[in-house]
């Protein structure tokens, strides 16, 4: 098994710079984690609230390393046949039907059951070869010639059985297919697992992974992210938006807005040609930021104070 990616990360700083040029602003901790994972070939378990860029991290890494991203979305009831491989039964059946004549030709001249069986035996592996194998994400990831980034999304949604199955894949980077034997990765993929903590994952799985927690960004980081994602936004408005969102996060809400919502909101404001935060405009676009009616109601009283503070922050 080779372990060489064409591209290599040389240092933590290098990662931060290259991520930044790919429009993903990452904190030092994230960069360190990716650096370790890449060099020691360990899977990364990324946790954190929804919308802080967990999935985006994997995508950007793939983009920077210039390798394909293989994504496996987990859900309840996901099993091996959907994650790893499945036989193309229909094709197998069709082929046996079509090749019936050939089969009888093959058996021609053989006397007795034993001899016929032997002849068939010498050919039967054909039907359980890779031609009849339907590759699923995990199998694909192991087969990539140049390595890949494997994203196992929302692993906490899958069943415990599937989690146990993942253990072999993640520690050895190999899988066992009864008919074909053990298949090893050509190049160990860089694995990201994301979790929203809807269920406690097993210690065995946690132990095999580096653990990365991505929190909501602080004001400075969020401002940088926003300026790289929505560069058209004016400085003043950006400061105001960030300050406003940071204040909203302090509230007791059902769904606290995360970075992706901030970006969406900034884009919305840009589309509506706002120059600064105005109560009317904020009220109309609040549904981009907050996803529950009760949350929007809860905002009602605070909105004006938040906007005022945001204005002060931006120096007006």
């Amino acid at each position: 098994m080779k372990e060489l990616y064409k591209d290599k990360f040389t240092s933590v700083d290098d990662i931060q710079q290259r991520f930044e040029s790919a429009k993903y602003i990452c904190s030092e901790q994230i960069a360190t984690c990716v650096y370790i994972a890449h060099n020691l070939q360990k899977p990364v378990m990324v946790e954190g609230p929804a919308g802080v860029g967990k999935t985006e991290l994997a995508k950007t890494t793939a983009q920077i390393l210039d390798v394909p991203l293989v994504r496996l979305q987990c859900y309840e009831g996901l099993d091996e046949s959907k994650a790893l491989y499945e036989w193309k039964y229909a094709k197998q059946l069709l082929y046996t039907q079509l090749l019936k004549d050939k089969l009888s030709e093959l058996l021609e001249g053989s006397t007795g059951l034993e001899q016929s069986m032997e002849r068939i035996h010498s050919h039967d592996d054909l039907f359980f070869s890779e031609t009849f194998l339907e590759p699923r994400p995990l199998y694909k990831a192991l087969h990539e010639e140049l390595g890949c980034v494997l994203l196992i999304d929302e692993v906490d949604k899958s069943d415990p059985e599937f989690e146990a199955f993942l253990l072999e894949v993640l520690s050895e980077f190999q899988v066992t297919i009864p008919e074909l034997g053990t298949i090893k990765a050509k190049i160990k993929p860089l694995v990201f697992l994301t979790s929203n903590n809807s269920r406690e994952l097993s210690d065995a799985l946690k132990r095999r992974c580096l653990h990365l927690y991505v929190p909501y960004p602080d004001e400075k980081l969020e401002s940088r992210i926003l300026s790289s994602r929505v560069p058209e936004l004016s400085d003043t408005l950006r400061k105001e938006v960030v300050s406003f969102v940071q204040q909203v996060r302090e509230l007791d809400l059902k769904k606290v807005p995360s970075i992706s919502e901030t970006i969406d909101w900034a884009k919305t404001l840009l589309l509506l040609h706002s120059e600064q935060l105005e109560p009317g405009m904020v009220k109309q676009t609040l549904n981009v930021l907050l996803k529950f009616e009760t949350d929007i109601d809860a905002m009602g009283d605070h909105m004006r104070t938040f906007i005022n503070k945001a204005h002060k922050r931006s120096g007006r």
């Binding site: 030092e28 360190t32 370790i36 060099n39 020691l40 946790e47 039964y89 946690k206």
Partner: protein, 460 residues
């Protein structure tokens, strides 16, 4: 450096994070990769590879800051700058030293270092000595002075004392003065070492003392546990209940009845040429075990009642389908109270409103028959906490019989030891035939084992 890393793992373990040998190997590799040049990166690397959850990350960061700080012999501990006139003394000292060439010179390394105020080497020496005496094994505060003494000995306390004695003997006033100064310095040293040991104890012994206390609490009788331990108990019970409930979280089962999932069935059976060997059904059901708990809070179990209630409260927190009742003479639902108030208030309120008085198991059972019997089915486990002291009233065993027939399991936990059952007004023997399990339960360990059994049975 390996030794330092191992010491750090010890600190991490003491903080309550599980670090397995394979974790330490991986972490050592990680550290080798990122190097020691950048403190922040090193910290991040430790966080990423040792922690397994958000809270653990915080802990690792905290331990890191504590462990990798080197300021033991800070200026405050320096004998020469501590006193207000410290700087003057230091200035005076040089001429004294040069004058007294004939007087007995300080011999030991330690004395020299102290005289010169070489804090850096002092700190290094102390760390070396600490490692030699195995300070990282310190567990309890009672070991503090022992370790401090050991470290001082290793650093050469005896030689220092000899020096002081030798210098004090002569008539030369300057050497006597110096002896006095050394004596002062020795005290400062002792102080510093003590501080150092204390700081180390706070890192390495963090968990040990708590564990000891918790172990003790677990095995002591519930009635003997004092009020001040109540909080520790509460956390302990919660931890226990939480662990058990995640271990036996609800399971989904495929039903074998109802509507056929045609697509899935066909798909699965293509391999058999469409002959349906394996069938799949659309309905799924979630196995929801139900628990009904009744807790005696009468005078006879007064000592236990608070803890039984605490236990009940914790169960309420972690289990979804649980009906809790207390009783003395009547059955009183307390689920609402538990939900509305924090634990201590809830327990006080229940005890004040319904507590005391003599228990009457007969009427309570009749109440149960009246109010809850319809809800009890073959998925329900009934848990009764009480001493079965019925004050010579009618035991109403017939209700217990119905209960036994209807419920999945009936479990009776009695705080009294088996020898007291049936002594005096206890009617435990009358109830026992109708219980699937009847056991003594008066320590937390008992409770834990019980709960384990209970949940295992509830989910299997």
């Amino acid at each position: 450096m390996q030794q330092t890393l191992e010491d750090f793992y010890k600190v991490i373990r003491a903080a309550g994070i599980n670090v397995s040998p394979s974790d330490t190997i991986e972490t050592s590799r990680t550290v080798a990769l990122v190097g020691y040049t950048d403190r922040n990166i090193l910290k991040n690397a430790f966080q990423v590879s040792l922690a397994k959850s958000e809270t653990e990350q915080e802990l690792v960061a905290e331990c890191f800051e504590q462990f990798f700080s080197f300021d033991t012999f800070s200026a405050a501990n320096d004998p020469h700058s501590n006193t207000t006139a410290g700087s003057d003394e230091a200035d005076d000292q040089q001429p004294i030293k040069s004058e007294q060439n004939e007087a007995p010179e300080a011999q030991s390394e330690l004395a020299k270092m102290l005289m010169e105020g070489d804090t850096a080497s002092l700190a290094t020496e102390m760390k070396k000595a600490a490692r030699e005496v195995g300070l990282t094994d310190i567990w309890f505060f009672t070991q503090k002075s022992l370790y401090a003494q050991k470290i001082m000995q290793k650093m050469g306390l005896r030689d220092l004392q000899n020096d002081i004695a030798a210098m004090g003997k002569g008539d030369c006033p300057s050497s006597i003065a110096q002896a006095g100064e050394l004596r002062n310095a020795k005290e400062y040293l002792a102080e510093s070492v003590k501080d150092f040991v204390e700081q180390q104890l706070s890192m390495y012994g963090r968990n040990a003392t708590r564990n000891l206390r918790e172990d003790h609490l677990k095995s002591s009788k519930l009635s003997n546990i004092e009020q001040r331990d109540f909080h520790v108990m509460h956390d302990l019970v919660r931890k226990m209940a939480k662990r058990l409930s995640t271990q036996y979280s609800k399971k989904k089962k495929q039903d074998k009845r109802g509507q056929l999932d045609f697509r899935k069935t066909l798909r699965r059976n293509v391999a058999y040429d469409g002959v349906m060997f394996e069938t799949y059904w659309k309905t799924k059901y979630i196995d929801k075990p139900r628990l009904l708990v009744m807790c005696d809070i009468s005078g006879s179990v007064q000592a236990y009642a608070r803890f039984l209630l605490l236990f009940l409260h914790s169960l309420n927190d972690v289990m979804q389908r649980i009906d809790s009742y207390v009783f003395t003479g009547n059955l009183i639902p307390v689920k609402d109270i538990f939900e509305k108030y924090p634990v201590e208030q809830a327990i006080d309120k229940i005890m004040a409103d319904h507590g005391m008085g003599g228990s009457d198991y007969g009427t309570t059972l009749l109440d149960l028959d009246d109010q809850c019997m319809d809800d009890i089915d073959n998925k329900t486990t009934v848990l009764i906490l009480g001493d079965a002291r019925n004050n010579f009233l009618a035991p109403r065993t017939e209700v217990m019989q119905t209960l036994h027939l209807r419920a999945k399991r009936v479990i009776w936990l009695n705080p009294e030891p088996t020898t007291f059952w049936n002594a005096g007004d206890s009617v435990m023997y009358k109830y026992r035939p109708y219980c699937h399990m009847a056991k003594t339960c008066n320590t937390l360990d008992h409770l834990e084992r019980m709960l384990d059994d209970l949940l295992k049975a509830a989910t299997s």
